[in-house]
Amino acid sequence: MTSWRVGRFSGLKAWAAVITAVGLSALAAGLASPGGEAVAKPPASMEFCKIYPTAHACAASPVVNCTTCHTVPPARNLFGAQVAEHLAPGAARPLSDADYIAALPAALKAVEALDADGDGISNLDEILKGSAPENGDSRPTAVSCTPGQTRSAAAGRWNTCGYDPVHAWRKVVLDVCGRSPTRAETDAFRRRLPSESSWREGISGQLDTCLRSPYWLGVNGVLWNLANAKINPQDSIKAGPRAGSIPLADYEWDYNLFAWMNTGDRDVRGLLTSQDFVKRVSDDPPTFAAVPDADLKGMRQAGQTVPREKRAGMITTRWFTTVNTMFTPIPRTTAAAAYRQYLGLDLARMQGLHPAVAEPIDYDAKGVGAPACAVCHSTLDPLTYPFTRYDGIIRNNYNPNRLKNFVRTDGARVVEAPEAGEIFGQKVANLLEWSQVAANSDAFAQKVTWDYWKMMVGREPSPADQTEFALMWKSLKAPDKFNYRVERMLHALVLTEAYGRP
């Protein structure tokens, strides 16, 4: 069960309520001032994790929520008030974003040893260990056992003080095969317990078997359901088998590609970079195969109409552009969906803001240059430009001249919108470069790991999980470790204490 402390940092419902209550304009209105009006600085949510990369809140995501320093933005909480007092004292207000970011490390440093909530634990300790520095009832969780408890736990039915191989193995059977082990299977596994190498081999072998099961890989299986929130299937517009009333595209191809990239010895970055088109050969046993371009005839219309050299994994499929881009010339929803679904950064919650210089330009005359809008659109619009050459409903193809079709509805300047854009402050020429930067980012590895962690462990990474979680996503990236192979990561994940400790 997720502790409230963790929920505080990642409580999406709470943050959604905040957004609703105060509106984006309030967040964007100015900056923190020690003696005067309190206001919020969205870039701080990302800057915080650059300053405290080992903080609990930064283990699962490169951003923290605004409630780290605010109650209901722009009002500050106790910790935020301490930081504000030390933020560029004497400097004229409002501070620019650049001045604010330059002053933030010193301000945070100045309050590290203080104790904003008076609970006897320093602000720094609370930040690093995942409790709330502004709430006296929130303290770091102690999860260690006394030596006496450790001895009795080891002799008990469950080892509640450490990794319990039988418990972990049983979880693997339930999580990945979708059933409880039989008594005979349990007895056989127990016979392995005297030898660590033997029980490790038993868990690993069980995982390998289950990873090929229909329960894991099949239609409506575990991987399929893991992709639901990314693919966003809707039966009313489904094409292909069991077509809906307005058949526009078939999401089943997207599920195939998702499963393909998450299994076997394949690089999971292919979710954003693959140019494969994948079919499900059989559902029992689940079998997939990449379709050669020559064989695409007949499948193309429902699944993939973009030429191979212009494809970028899951974010250029016919389904993805149909449900996200639709008829939009500058498809901000598409870029925001990709940012949220594959990088874990939700711009609606002001996560992942990297304002680009001289943006937004407002090529489609939507009024995004207004100060209240520009806070997010200075990141979102350059993030979106690389998507502007990909058609949505009907054509679903790459078209370098696509924006000419929108002059009548969106104004003459719409054709000036560039294909080049920016992601994480890095300039990219097109969507292929965009997807490469995204796939190689820490945010991507964290999001992949986070998805599996939540599913397998059963909750978001807690303060006690920070070390193991960080090890997982960093190892996912490391060429000499998991090298972006999900199944390698899963073999390590089931051996973590977070997974195997009852």
Partner: protein
Amino acid sequence: MRMPGLFAALTLAVMAAVAVAPAVVSAQEAAPASTDPRIKFKDGERYLRDLSETFEIPRDEICRELSRYDCSNKAFRIVLGGVDPYDARVMQPLDQATLASPIAFDRVALQVCANRVARDRADPAKALLFKSAAGRPDRAWRDALTDRLYDRILRRDASVAERDRMAAFLQGVEGRTGRSARGQSEQTLLACFALASSAEAAFY
């Protein structure tokens, strides 16, 4: 599916769970309580797959509301931890159980147990849970029933304390169900329900 004695079983169901479930929890004798417990809900589909296998009832027959709607895939899909991305737009299992979840779970447990006991009554030669006592139900009959239930539902042996507690429960229920074969089958159904709706059966 309407089961003989189902109404009476419902009346006693809560009593059964209260009487026996604590025994399951207290079985974790020597180990200290987990300092950071992270149990997971088995969810409706895995729960029914397990019971289908252990009760030897085909998965698509084991639990159907109004004899029509599969308990996990249709009737209680979302409240028992499932998803429905296509129509209801529920993309992931709910983070928190709903108020209806325990009610639905108990209904499923009771229906599955009633299903198995009805089959046992209909074909005693192939009975798995309910086996009528040769004479008056005694401690040996109760222990044998307890052992069958723990073996089938929790896939382990009952501890001594658990056998004692179940025997006391069955004896107490006998006062309301009577000692007849029908009464014994109702005792079996309630004991089955108590274990099938226990935390140990629902979580892992």
